[in-house]
């Protein structure tokens, strides 16, 4: 963004397009759209500085509903498109909007490689554990045994944990949040945007048509406190309505305990650290309901140079050393010879 750009106040309206939103009424996508618009309005950067890139799926209609630049690309490929854009134009704030099928099935490869490169983009993965747009087949995050149209006897695939994949792919920022928890959602998106590098945000999203309530344990405010832990930097991993339960590590395994029982005090509870360590972050990614409460918030945030900075840095270094490229020199190459007029004859063409 250029410095001459006037900082000005923006409202949510400045970020909405004139297109009718076509998600099913009650879909979790609505609250995510509204949260993102609110965060952008608060950021004070004009809409033309943002590009939203999506793949295919319900969530991927998202760019059409924003007044920013955007590409509704093809199934699974949003991150590849975004990588090219960001390398070409590091000045733009680039978002990827994707889903569990888009990012973890057909586009799984790009997810891994975008993360390991640490391209400075923000990935919002709407995880509803189902294929919505194609009307209800199981997805890579659907639980084993899930009965859907394509698996009338239950799915035979072990579900994958998006966060575990992100960590294995060397993610520098990973977070989880929930469509029905707007305050948390906004705070998480804001943190993700501010991170320099690939930020990977898994958003639990309710598909009320094909998979209603699949994530209710985390979404429903009445039970949420018992089933999720809100991670906060430097704070102990406490949960429960009365915040009287915690997570301890026992011989490298995580265990939920009640403070005050069996002589356990708050000091025994693990303290969250976004920067350290990989093995701790790995344990967080493996915490699954109902065995354990599921963490939400920022799992991990570390610093590493971004891919586009490295790419452009190499170019700058070469230019510093050799000067800008000279096209004529390149065309001439290493050795030439001349054919003179008098040697020439009816020619070659």
């Amino acid at each position: 963004m250029s410095v001459t750009e006037q900082k000005r106040e923006y409202t949510v309206k400045d970020f909405g397009s004139d297109q009718d939103v076509r998600w099913c009424p009650g879909c979790g996508d609505y609250s995510i759209l509204s949260a993102v618009k609110k965060v952008l309005a608060e950021a004070g950067v004009p809409p033309e500085q943002y590009v939203f890139i999506s793949g295919i799926g319900c969530s991927s209609r998202f760019p059409y509903y924003m007044s920013t630049y955007g590409i509704h690309s093809i199934h699974g490929r949003a991150m590849a498109v975004a990588t090219g854009l960001k390398v070409a134009r590091p000045d733009l704030h680039t978002f990827v909007i994707t889903g569990d099928g888009d990012a973890l099935s057909i586009g799984g490869n790009h997810t891994i490689h975008t993360l390991r490169r640490n391209v400075d983009i923000t990935i919002l993965l709407f995880n509803n554990q189902i294929y919505g747009l194609t009307k209800g087949q199981y997805s890579p995050t659907s639980p084993f045994g899930k009965k859907t149209k394509s698996t009338p006897m239950g799915s035979l695939d072990q579900p994958i944990a998006p966060m575990a994949i992100a960590l294995a792919a060397e993610a520098t920022f990973m977070a989880r949040t929930i469509d029905m928890h707007p305050k948390h959602l906004m705070a998480t998106v804001k943190r993700a945007m501010e991170h320099k590098g690939t930020s990977f945000v898994e958003i639990y999203q309710n598909c009320n048509i094909f998979n209603d309530g699949a994530l209710a344990y985390a979404q429903d405010r009445k039970v949420r406190a018992e089933n999720v832990i809100e991670l906060e930097q430097g704070k102990p991993l406490l949960f429960g309505k009365d915040m009287n339960k915690g997570i301890v590590s026992e011989k490298g395994h995580l265990k939920a305990v009640r403070i005050g029982e069996d002589g356990i005090t708050e000091d025994d509870v693990l303290v969250h650290d976004e920067e350290d360590s990989e093995s701790y972050h790995a344990m967080l990614t493996r915490m699954r309901y109902p065995e354990l409460p599921e963490p939400i918030g920022v799992f991990r945030a570390i610093e590493r140079p971004t891919y586009e900075d490295l790419v452009n840095g190499q170019i700058e270094r070469v230019i510093e050393r050799k000067g800008k490229g000279d096209l004529q020199k390149l065309i001439v190459g290493r050795s030439t010879w001349e054919v003179h007029e008098d040697e020439a004859e009816a020619g070659k063409g």
Binding site: P47, V87, G333, S335, V339
Partner: protein
């Protein structure tokens, strides 16, 4: 002038108009390097040259086996030539397998130079030979020079201090020295090359120089050779020349396009034979602001290039047939979102993995038709290594002018062949003008992302520009506004518009020229595209010498066809039309369907280019058949 061959021992010097040499050995023997250096020396000497590399798909197939043989053929000539030669005049074979694989193409009475030390009981067995051909007289109809190259090489670098193994690896330079002497080539360019290549490795530098000279002096002093050959300088059009390979010329062309457009090139690519050298070449030239991106797969490569184009860079991706197949869906997206993109296919033998290192032209249908939906895009083909430069430039011009992906077809033959290139002066190259919209083009300050210009191109508005925010995507667009639309009439209109836009490219590019028929009285017409250029050109020339006049049309533009192509077929209406292709008649089919012209196709799908004779024979047969019908 020191080493330009003036044989000190008086030997007979025979002048030859042109010579074809093939160097053959194990893939680890350095035959490609040897051939390249000989080519370079010949080009600098002033001959016209044309080369062909023929190597196995395996990097180091088991030594000594026939499938591990790597070959490099070149023709050098005192007049203009267009092919690496039909038959081989001189075969250099480093082992029995190399001899066995290549002997069939050596002409009767041709010269064979053998590494005697390479013919051991073991290597003979590996090549499946019962007897040693050096000793059993089976090579009687050739002039055979059997030289103990390995031993001589070891002796030559005795004092340099290399291990025996390292020294042995220099033997290709010994062979090169011998051949340089035999064909009166100067050693200087090769010595310069050694100097540069082994700049930091003194021992190897010294060893290779000694070995090269040793080979050369061996020729001079040995009784083996009774005469040497000389091929005079070629009479090429005046100008300054360099030697260039196809993939290299593509890379230089892309960089030039970026410079002329004042835009950075973003090159997304996944390694694949025979296209990878474009990536290697571009990665070496970052000082031009080129951004090379080795993607995780073919799909990411094209998608990233498209994303870069959206941001205002010149997005380029390249691959070979299997990779292009993977890119097909993204190509459809590029057609739909109407962004500039250059997609290069260095074709190889197919289908599937096919023949990775061999040549074929069977991806024409894939380029023109190979996507879902009505999905037209311009297709251009390069006809020779140096033509790749021009084609890369023209493809970029079309891509940005028409806001469209453009497919460029090259092939494994062009990619790895070299020829002299009378390169242009950058000052003479037209700039590539690009306009980025910076103001709303609709009423009330609205931006209409699919409002077209006179060429039917939509505006290229860059993210970051205030007031022009818009969303593009793969869903059908409403005409003018670019909003998503499922309206039936609109879909028909948009399909028509996309087609009309691509058709308009024919108005933008040059008319098709006809070669070899200035007065329009040729007896027949030969139509070709791509790397068959040299073989067809040469056939037409030779036929002319026999009194047969053949017009030659060589298409660069395969979609849309040149605007005067219909008129050309009209002109040759009563005469046979021959279409030689390294496929089962794909261009012939397209021409038949578009122009209702009775094309006769000549096919070859053997992983090898046409020989001149094959095309001459087909032309003569066709003429004879026509004569018989009369």
């Amino acid at each position: 002038m020191s080493l330009e061959a003036q044989p000190k021992t008086p030997k007979e010097v025979e002048e030859l108009p042109q010579v074809t040499i093939r160097f053959a050995g194990d893939s680890g023997d350095g035959m490609q390097l040897t051939g390249t250096q000989f080519t370079n020396a010949s080009a600098i000497f002033g001959n016209d040259v044309s080369t062909m590399a023929d190597f196995p798909a395996e990097i180091r197939a088991p030594a000594g086996t026939v499938y591990g043989v790597s070959g490099f053929q070149l023709q050098f000539s005192s007049s203009a030539i267009y092919t690496p030669g039909d038959v081989v005049d001189c075969l250099v074979a480093m082992n029995p397998a190399a001899l066995k694989v290549n002997l069939a193409e050596l002409k009767h009475g041709g010269v064979i130079i053998l590494n005697e030390d390479g013919f051991t009981e073991q290597t003979l067995k590996l090549a499946g030979m019962d007897r040693n051909p050096i000793k059993d007289g089976s090579l009687g109809k050739y002039t055979v020079h059997s030289i103990p190259m390995t031993q001589s090489t070891l002796r030559a670098c005795e004092e340099v201090g290399l291990t025996g193994k390292e020294a042995g690896r220099c033997k290709n330079f010994y062979a090169l020295g011998v051949v340089c002497w035999l064909y009166s080539r100067p050693l200087e360019p090769i010595l310069d090359f050694i100097e540069m290549k082994f700049k930091d490795r003194e021992q190897l530098r010294e060893a290779n120089k000694r070995v090269l000279r040793a080979g050369y002096y061996f020729g001079e002093t040995a009784e083996l050779f009774t005469r040497v050959f000389r091929v005079r300088k070629a009479h090429l059009p005046p100008g300054v020349y360099r030697e260039v390979h196809g993939n290299e010329a593509l890379a230089i062309g892309l960089i030039a396009a970026g410079q002329l457009a004042n835009k950075p090139i973003f090159y997304g690519s996944y390694p694949i034979t025979p296209a990878s050298d474009i990536l290697h070449e571009l990665a070496r030239h970052k000082q031009f602001g080129v951004k090379t991106f080795q993607a995780e797969d073919e799909i990411a490569a094209i998608c990233a290039a498209l994303g870069a184009s959206y941001g205002g860079a010149l997005g380029v991706t390249a691959s070979s047939g299997p990779g292009i197949a993977l890119k097909a869906e993204a190509l459809g997206l590029a057609v739909m979102v109407e962004l500039p993109l250059v997609v290069i296919n260095v074709q190889r033998g197919g289908p599937s993995t096919g023949l990775p290192t061999k040549v074929e032209q069977a991806d024409l249908f894939q380029a023109v038709l190979g996507r879902n939906g009505e999905c037209p895009l311009p297709v251009l083909a390069a006809r020779s290594p140096s033509d790749c430069f021009e084609v890369a430039l023209e493809a970029t011009r079309i891509a940005v002018k028409f806001m469209t992906p453009v497919m460029v077809l090259s092939d494994g033959f062009i990619a790895n062949s070299a020829e002299p290139w009378c390169f242009p002066n950058t000052g003479d190259l037209d700039p590539i003008e690009i306009e980025h919209t910076d103001e709303p083009n609709g009423e009330n300050g609205r931006f209409l992302s699919y409002k077209r210009d006179e060429w039917l191109a939509r505006p290229w508005a860059l993210p970051g520009t205030p007031g022009l925010t818009h969303r593009i995507g793969g869903l059908e667009k409403q005409d003018v506004t670019g909003n998503v639309s499922y309206d039936p009439e609109n879909h028909q209109r948009m399909v028509n518009l996309r087609q009309a836009k691509v058709d308009k490219v024919a108005e933008f590019v040059a008319e098709q020229e006809i070669m070899n028929d200035p007065d329009g009285t040729a007896e027949m017409l030969v139509v070709g595209w791509g790397s068959t250029y040299g073989a067809i050109r040469e056939s037409a020339r030779r036929l002319l010498r026999k009194g047969v006049r053949v017009a030659h049309v060589h298409l660069r533009h395969l979609n849309p066809f040149p605007r005067n192509l219909g008129a050309i077929f009209e002109k040759y209406r009563d005469r046979p039309v021959l279409v030689p292709e390294m496929n089962k008649g794909q261009l012939a089919t397209l021409l038949r369907s578009k122009y209702l012209v009775d094309t006769q196709h000549l096919e070859k799908v053997q992983g090898r280019p046409f020989t001149t004779v094959e095309i001459m024979d087909a032309a003569e047969e066709l003429l004879a058949a026509k004569g018989a019908k009369k």
